[in-house]
């Protein structure tokens, strides 16, 4: 234990309480917010080139949204008490808003999915038999009107919901950043930029995930990839990467320029404790390399396969980089002592309630949910049309 500690630390800091599961919580909510915002590029801003993945993005957002509470419930234990946050929210804590913000967003996403898939659901209800007919009829709420007028109404409402959805997705994730940014005792967390940094990294991770899932599903289904859609997603990924890196560097630069009393411990954190995950994984692998690769993709002509490989590598790097960013915030912030003159070390364990194994399981579940949802509500129709 002694070699994990340097300098002077307070007794109640020795054990790092927020483990890898708390790293996972902002990571998963970020993927949700990012996927939703990617889908709203089509639904709200009418970017037709995103259309093939717009509905798939909503299903991805839902799959990850359904597990967003799991890291917290596993970390805290007693999941049956989780609902108390909604029954008696203590409004002096930002965390008390979680239940309501989450539920509101869940309603928006479910309604949005229902409206965009309603035509398919009704057609399936008509064409299937037995329990499937019952399931699809129930999903259609036993209303089978898919006249042009009804679908037009659906589209209008879906657009309105998506307009509400963007601020609520931003709110859902911005507020996770706010929880960290509002912890005034911790100089590594306490900055009003935190919600925006979280939001931007959420958007890049969500878009990157969507790119990978799109390529993977098309490869599995042995269908040609819509390169226009892929390039458009890559373009947005590149644009949001710029916002992301600007904010992240702005925070560090202003911290270093201001050189307040905490600068020594921050320097030690950056040069020793999280040097590899911050400079190596978060900045170089997660931002710089994808930035250059995506820039090349934008400049290159033809060579679609090479571009696809470059976009895939960028997306994988971005996803790993954003995970490292969450790690650096959550774990890094706890590796410096509140005394500002000591550091601690987080050693992840594998088999434990707080361990790496539950984290892996929680990270795998959304993909299983996504597989089930795409079986019930296949988004392939629009993913596979109009490919030249």
């Amino acid at each position: 234990m002694d070699n994990l500690i340097w300098g002077y630390v307070y007794p109640n800091e020795v054990e790092i309480q927020w483990s890898i599961l708390i790293v996972l919580y902002p990571y998963i909510t970020g993927l949700v917010a990012g996927a939703f915002i990617a889908s709203s590029l089509y639904h709200v801003f009418g970017k037709q080139e995103i259309k093939p993945v717009a509905r798939f993005a909503l299903l991805t957002a839902l799959s990850f949204l359904l597990v967003a509470t799991m890291p917290l419930l596993t970390h805290l234990g007693h999941p049956e008490r989780g609902i108390e946050i909604m029954f008696t929210p203590h409004l002096t804590s930002a965390m008390s808003g979680f239940g309501y913000i989450y539920s509101f967003y869940l309603i928006i996403v479910v309604l949005e999915i229902w409206l965009s898939f309603r035509e398919d659901i009704v057609k399936k209800a008509h064409s299937s038999k037995g329990w499937k007919e019952l399931m699809y009829s129930a999903l259609a709420l036993f209303s089978y009107d898919i006249s042009e007028k009804a679908l037009h109404e659906d589209e209008k409402l879906a657009k309105r919901l998506a307009i509400i959805g963007i601020p609520s997705a931003a709110f859902l994730h911005g507020y996770v950043g706010f929880i960290f940014g509002g912890i005034k005792a911790n100089p590594w967390w306490s900055t009003p930029l935190m919600p925006l940094i979280f939001l931007m990294s959420a958007i890049v991770s969500g878009i990157a995930l969507l790119i990978l899932l799109y390529i993977a599903s098309m490869k599995i289904r042995k269908h040609a990839i819509d390169h226009k859609c892929l390039h458009s997603l890559a373009h947005y990924l590149w644009v949001f990467l710029i916002f992301d890196v600007t904010l992240e560097l702005l925070e560090i630069i202003s911290m270093k320029y201001e050189s307040l009393e905490e600068i020594d411990i921050i320097n030690r954190l950056l040069s020793d404790k999280i040097a590899f995950t911050f400079y190596g994984v978060q900045l170089t692998m997660g931002i710089f390399i994808p930035f250059v690769l995506l820039l090349l993709v934008g400049m290159m002509k033809n060579r679609e396969t090479l571009k696809m490989i470059m976009i895939s590598i960028s997306s994988v790097f971005v996803i790993i980089g954003v995970f490292a960013m969450r790690w650096n915030v959550v774990i890094g912030g706890q590796e410096i002592s509140k005394s500002l003159s000591g550091t601690l070390t987080y050693v992840p364990v594998f088999f434990s309630q707080e361990g790496v194994l539950p984290a892996i399981i929680i990270l795998v579940i959304p993909f299983i949910i996504l597989r089930v949802i795409t079986y019930i509500l296949p988004p392939w129709k629009d993913m596979e049309e109009e490919v030249t």
Binding site: I107, L111, S143, A150
Partner: protein
Amino acid sequence: MQPHLKKAFTLLALVIIAFIFVRSLVVPSSFGQYGWYRGDSLGDIRNFPVEYAGSTSCGEENCHKNIYSVWIKDRHKTVNCETCHGPSEKHVNNIREMPEPANDSRDYCGLCHFKRVARPTTFPQIDPDVHGENMRCTYCHNPHKPWFI
């Protein structure tokens, strides 16, 4: 509004009403009476039977006066009798009701005295792997007068 949208919004309204209804059933009526907790819990806690009698009750009336006078002068005076000997209210009221035997296991002493980085360095701490050959601490140390070996 289209009938299917009416149905969807009715369903949503029903879910919200069900939530409000369940909340009204589950949240106790005295919640928030004094603060962010169930007001009636104060009465519930007050009605718990008293289990601890306090260290002075052991030394009173000549019952355990000798050992009490040793303990009160030594460094473990901040550790109450009942910390190791267990709750004694029943025993004080009726001497035939004996408390549980004192907990003198090595791990129990270790709760305070095993080496922890978070403890002040001046606090007596041992590394259980190298100190005492895994014997019970009370084999050498008198818990009432800990430096007396």
